[in-house]
């Protein structure tokens, strides 16, 4: 046994996967997983979906319960934040004063919801969604006929709007930009998503910036830049996330839109690694472009990748970026990084949904996106995703023809 162990700060998806992977890859020394949330690591994606739709509180989807962690020889320290890193002496100091020696350290500190800056006496009443407790607080407020105002037309805002509509709320969704899903989702899908919400009775207001939020009795009065005033019994902002970099900054690690990591996920200190929402890294599939992803699969995959890197692997992290969102009975999926200059080819799958192929200037697939009924779109999208992963270059007119199987190009 090594006297010094592996320490992981952040017990979300990336941190938990890293801890489990370190053990499964054969590390026999100590592993300590530190998180400021008291409950065992759990999956965040359901928080905006089934947890909000449920009439009663649902237990969190636990990634690894305390028994599993104990059986794997992983010590979990919950409800206590790491407050300082002493790089010289390889120590992590916790809020309670305990000092953990590390051989290698992983920062999986995640991100926090970006706060809306608005004037008024009610701005502090806005809800945000990140943690289990946030979802429970929100669920309790989504009563039938409650007036729910959701600020932000990204994944969190749209999924929350869909859940609120399912609970019978009167939902208004505000997006400051002229369209929904401005980051990485093609216009055609954004328009279909907008239609879906309108059909469900959600009032979608585009180009709607919030100017002020005031208390009005038990409700909130939300004033828009154009002077419109909306009454809300519950209001949530989902306007992006800010990487948690304070710990990294305080010990002098380099930052660049997050904790700056190299292609292996090592930070500017070779004994400290980063993974998940807090981590920015150069992506080898996109010419080394530095990106940071806020996505479940990335957190899971980077956690596992960082674990291997901490044990000496030199492999670059080269997984295709991947996002999904469930809204009503539809799933939308994006794999890869689409460029505005890409040629977009539609493959209409009829009742199974639609696939959009993004072809770069070189004729190769840079990304795919899709939308359709959750069960039906999954398989065709996965095949399309594998094509994008290979950077395949199928002829556009054949991609558009649903009679030609996608498998045709997979085996090439």
């Amino acid at each position: 046994m090594n006297a010094q162990g592996m320490v992981i700060v952040g017990a979300g998806e990336a941190g938990a996967r890293a801890a489990l992977t370190l053990r499964s890859l054969g590390w026999t020394g100590a592993i300590t997983l530190v998180g400021d949330e008291s409950r065992p690591p759990y999956e965040r994606p359901p928080l905006s979906k089934r947890h909000l739709v449920a009439e009663e509180e649902l237990p969190p989807s636990v990634i690894a319960d305390d028994r599993t962690l104990r059986d794997s020889g992983i010590e979990r320290i919950g409800g206590e934040a790491a407050v300082r890193i002493d790089r010289e002496n390889h120590l992590v100091e916790l809020a309670g004063g305990r000092k953990l020696p590390y051989e290698r350290l992983l920062l999986a500190t995640g991100a926090r919801p970006r706060q809306l800056s608005a004037e008024g006496t009610g701005a502090g009443e806005l809800l945000y969604l990140r943690r289990f407790e946030d979802a429970e607080r929100l669920r309790g407020r989504l009563r039938p006929r409650a007036r729910a105002v959701i600020i932000g037309g990204g994944f969190i805002g749209l999924e929350t709007a869909a859940s609120a509509a399912a609970r019978g709320c009167a939902v208004t969704l505000l997006e400051a930009a002229p369209r929904l899903l401005t980051r990485g989702v093609p216009q055609a899908i954004a328009e279909r998503v907008e239609r879906l919400h309108r059909q469900a009775g959600v009032e979608v207001r585009l180009g709607a910036a919030v100017a002020a939020i005031d208390r009005a009795g038990d409700a909130l009065a939300i004033r828009l830049a154009d002077g419109t005033e909306l009454a809300a019994d519950v209001a949530l902002a989902g306007i992006g996330a800010v990487p948690e970099t304070a710990l990294a900054a305080s010990c002098g690690l380099e930052l660049d839109n997050g904790v700056k990591a190299d292609a292996r996920l090592a930070t500017s200190d070779p004994d400290i690694y980063a993974a998940g929402d807090c981590c920015s890294f150069p992506h080898p599939l996109y010419g080394g472009r530095r990106i940071r992803l806020e996505a479940w699969r990335n957190a899971k995959d980077q956690g596992a990748h960082a674990a291997a890197a901490m044990l000496g692997s030199d492999e670059p992290y080269a997984v295709l970026p991947w996002f999904w969102s469930d809204q009503y009975d539809q799933t939308l999926l994006v794999a890869g990084l689409a460029e505005p200059s890409d040629t977009v080819v539609l493959r209409d799958l009829g009742e199974a949904g639609r696939l959009y192929f993004h072809l770069g200037a070189d004729g190769r697939l840079s990304a795919v996106s899709g939308m359709g009924p959750s069960e039906a779109i999954a398989k065709p999208f996965r095949q399309a995703e594998l094509l994008a992963e290979k950077r395949a270059a199928p002829p556009a007119e054949q991609l558009a023809d649903p009679r030609i199987k996608l498998k045709t190009w997979l085996s090439e």
Binding site: R297, K300, E375, A376, A378, K379, R382, Q383
Partner: protein, 107 residues
């Protein structure tokens, strides 16, 4: 519990090579596979992580990948192969008879 019974699923040709179909029997549901080598197998229908039907997943060689979160199972053994899945799938014996696929279901 009485003896298992053999139940007809479909024609052998109804499952493409490297593919999977859904088969419902009573209140139970299964996934029936044909691997890249042409062998037939059967497992429980739903992924052990969340309730998504594996017949909507992708068969790659002798591995099935769940459509929702891309967890993977070894088809012949049902063994969980990749996170987030960690619980193995139950498998069921399969036989071919006169170009029809049968699975043995505990009744």
């Amino acid at each position: 519990m009485s003896d298992p019974i053999w139940v007809e699923v479909c024609d052998a040709e109804d499952i493409e090579e490297e593919d999977v179909v859904r088969f419902d029997y009573g209140d139970r549901t299964f996934a029936v596979y044909r691997t890249d080598k042409g062998d037939y197998y059967a497992t429980d229908g739903y992924c052990t992580h969340e309730k998504f039907h594996l017949s909507n997943g992708l068969v790659m060689g002798s591995v099935i990948e769940c459509p929702k979160h891309n967890g993977r199972f070894d088809i012949p053994t049902g063994a969980a192969k990749r996170a987030p899945v960690c619980v193995d799938l139950t498998t069921y014996p399969v036989k071919l008879d006169a170009d029809k696929v049968y699975i043995r279901i505990p009744s």
